[in-house]
């Protein structure tokens, strides 16, 4: 019986190619839209999470002033001594880096490239979660002496050296020559969208002497020890800095302490909302696809009811008719689901590449949309048939 019924179902599909095609199309569009959007949303979330991880987690950044843009508020910069005070007084501070930076043009042979030159210590790499791809970091002696040595980022290497190995070469930074002693492993974009690899790092003293001409420190970076409370370190830092900057009890802070975890949460929160939004839009398209299918089925219900009448009249059992319609619905819905998944995979991989976010295959969403499409097919294909198959044959035949 099953084999014969399968034959009848396939014949019915072939007989109504247009209707079958439209049914499949409705499911394909819905399924493909949902999977693509959710996959891309998840990819974007993952990309942001990766960028945040590359910034270094458990990181506090202390900036002068209350608003963005250092120095705008007239608040004084920091000193190296501030970093030392934090290091000695806050036990949970794992690495503390004083940072001064300046935009400068770098030159190697005939090529030049304008980039941000950052002055700090070896701890800067630890705090910022940087890895060395080649060469070495500065020694303490080089830091103390303010030697002209630097570690360059991947983008700078590419711009100045092309395919060449930069370690050991000398580049010119503004007016002075500087030996490249290390190359940083690429990190990619930051969570805020800037290129983190577009950087040159040298000892703080070197930058202060040769580029900024002052002992100012633009910001402090504090890596919190693994397992320690970031909030506690933040509080301690605020208290210590208020004390060191002589801020009265009623006065506001003239600096702020940012927590990368907070930034991370804000950003992932945003992308998660975006994913939900995309998902909602996609769900609507799935629904629209479903309504399309419903329409097709309702339009054909007269013909199908009469068809059921004919089948019953020549001796089909109710359950044989129902099984045929069920198989028909499941075959069409599955076909739509499979094509939809294939289309979604192709579209997701392509768009993920275009958007530079990772492609993450999500079995759950594939399964859910597949089941949903199957449900739509069965609900709209099978239930009207069930009503018709329960009629007396003559009533089904008379249906108008």
């Amino acid at each position: 019986m099953l084999w014969n019924t399968l034959l009848l179902a396939l014949r019915a599909i072939r007989r109504n190619l247009m209707r079958s095609f439209l049914t499949v199309l409705g499911i394909v569009i819905g399924v493909a839209a949902v999977i693509t959007m959710v996959t891309l949303g998840r990819g974007a979330t993952q990309a942001v999470a990766d960028q945040i991880a590359s910034m270094g987690s458990n990181l506090l950044i202390v900036l002068p002033g209350q608003r963005f843009g250092p120095g705008i508020s007239g608040a004084p910069f920091f000193r190296v001594a501030d970093a030392e005070a934090i290091r000695s007084q806050i036990g949970a501070a794992d690495a503390v880096a004083a940072v001064a930076s300046r935009v400068a043009t770098t030159v190697y042979q005939a090529r030049n490239w304008s980039t941000v030159v950052t002055g700090s210590s070896d701890e800067y790499f630890r705090a910022g979660n940087w890895q060395l791809a080649a060469g070495r970091s500065f020694t303490e002696a080089e830091e103390r002496a303010g030697k002209a040595v630097c570690v360059i980022g991947e983008t700078v290497r590419e711009r100045l050296f092309g395919r060449q190995d930069p370690v050991g070469s000398e580049i010119r930074v503004r007016q002075f020559a500087c030996e490249v002693i290390g190359l940083l492993a690429a990190k990619g974009q930051s969570a805020m969208g800037s290129d983190q690899d577009d950087t040159v790092v040298m000892p703080l003293r070197t930058v202060q002497r040769r580029l900024t001409g002052s002992t100012d420190v633009n910001r402090l970076m504090i890596a919190v020890r693994e397992g320690a409370s970031i909030d506690a370190v933040q509080d301690q830092t605020v208290r210590l800095m208020r004390e060191r900057r002589n801020i009265g009890a009623n006065e506001e802070d003239d600096f702020r302490v940012m927590d990368t975890r907070q930034i991370a949460e804000t950003l992932t929160g945003t992308t998660r909302i975006l994913t939900l939004l995309l998902g909602a839009v996609a769900a609507v398209s799935l629904l629209v696809g479903g309504i399309g299918i419903m329409n097709i089925m309702l339009v054909s219900v007269t013909e199908r009811t009469r068809e059921i009448g004919i089948r019953l009249a020549i001796g089909a059992l109710e359950r044989e008719v129902l099984l045929q319609f069920l198989i028909e619905a499941v075959v069409l819905a599955s076909l739509g689901g499979i094509v939809g998944i294939a289309l979604a995979t192709a579209a997701s991989v392509f768009l993920a590449g275009l958007m530079q976010v990772p492609y993450l295959f999500d079995p759950a969403i594939n399964l859910v949309s597949f089941l949903f499409s199957a449900a739509i097919g069965v609900i709209f294909g099978y239930f009207p048939a069930r009503r018709a198959a329960r009629l007396d044959p003559i009533e089904a035949l008379r249906h108008e």
């Binding site: 007989r15 004919i310 001796g315 089909a316 003559i394």
Partner: protein
């Protein structure tokens, strides 16, 4: 009702007693059939006539197990049909009944061969036998070579032939035909009637046929007239003289 005394019938195939059918309920109720008693023997060719609305189709549908009567009893080969379940009645249709409709009722966009095959598929016959039987049935109704045409590509007469082939391909005990020539011209109607007549003669197929046309009724050996949901007369005109069938003659209501 009393009926004309008939010569001893062959084996009794169908017996209707006190069949009624009421559509709707309350004020709007329509009594389509008001108590029909009818017995049909094996191998008979019966024409059913009567004015429009007299309940002919309703009775045919009840006979074909396509519809259920409001009251009364229907015995088919001694089996009490109203006691059967839905599925059992479907099996009765599958194995013993063939139905031909005025409007053909073929599956659209489906070839003649597949239409004729359909009842055999439900009977679970193997593909090879199914194809052979369907081809033979189409050949018998004069449609050899038309197997791959869909109803849309066939004339009315050809479609009705396909419908007859579909009805008889299972070798049923009875062929029930409700105005099989109602949509056809006289020439085509005669061809269809010759076909049905030969099935009755050569195969001993029992035939019940509704028609409005005395010419077509003349093919039958027995003519049952319906009026107002009742059997008004039940006649057996002498075989050789075809025409004057209808009119008064046999019976009166008790």
């Amino acid at each position: 009702m009393n009926q004309t005394a008939r010569p001893a019938m062959t084996e009794e195939l169908i017996r209707l007693s006190g069949i009624t059918k009421t559509y709707g309920r309350g004020q709007a109720a329509i009594q389509a059939v008001r108590g029909v008693d009818l017995a049909i023997g094996e191998g008979e060719f019966v024409a059913v006539m009567g004015p429009s609305g007299s309940g002919k189709s309703t009775v045919m549908n009840i006979l074909g197990c396509l519809d259920t009567p409001t009251s009364g009893s229907y015995r088919f080969q001694g089996v009490q049909v109203e006691r059967l379940t839905r599925d059992q009645r479907a099996l009765l249709r599958r194995h013993y009944l063939g139905f031909v409709f005025q409007g053909y009722n073929l599956l659209a966009r489906t070839t003649a061969l597949e239409n004729v095959e359909l009842p055999l598929i439900y009977r679970g016959e193997a593909a090879a036998e199914r194809h052979a039987a369907a081809r033979a049935a189409l050949e018998q109704v004069g449609l050899a070579g038309w197997e791959d045409h869909t109803p849309g590509e066939l004339s009315g007469g050809q479609q009705q032939r396909v419908a007859i082939a579909r009805a008889v391909v299972t070798r049923p005990a009875v062929l029930l035909a409700d105005e099989p020539t109602g949509n056809l011209d006289t020439r085509t109607s005669r061809e269809i009637m010759d076909l049905i007549g030969s099935l009755n003669r050569d195969r001993g197929l029992t035939v019940l046929m509704v028609t409005h046309e005395p010419d077509m009724a003349a093919y039958a050996q027995r003519i049952v007239r319906f009026v107002d949901g009742r059997v008004e007369s039940d006649l057996r005109p002498p075989p050789p003289a075809p025409p004057p069938p209808a009119g008064e003659g046999g019976t009166e209501a008790a």
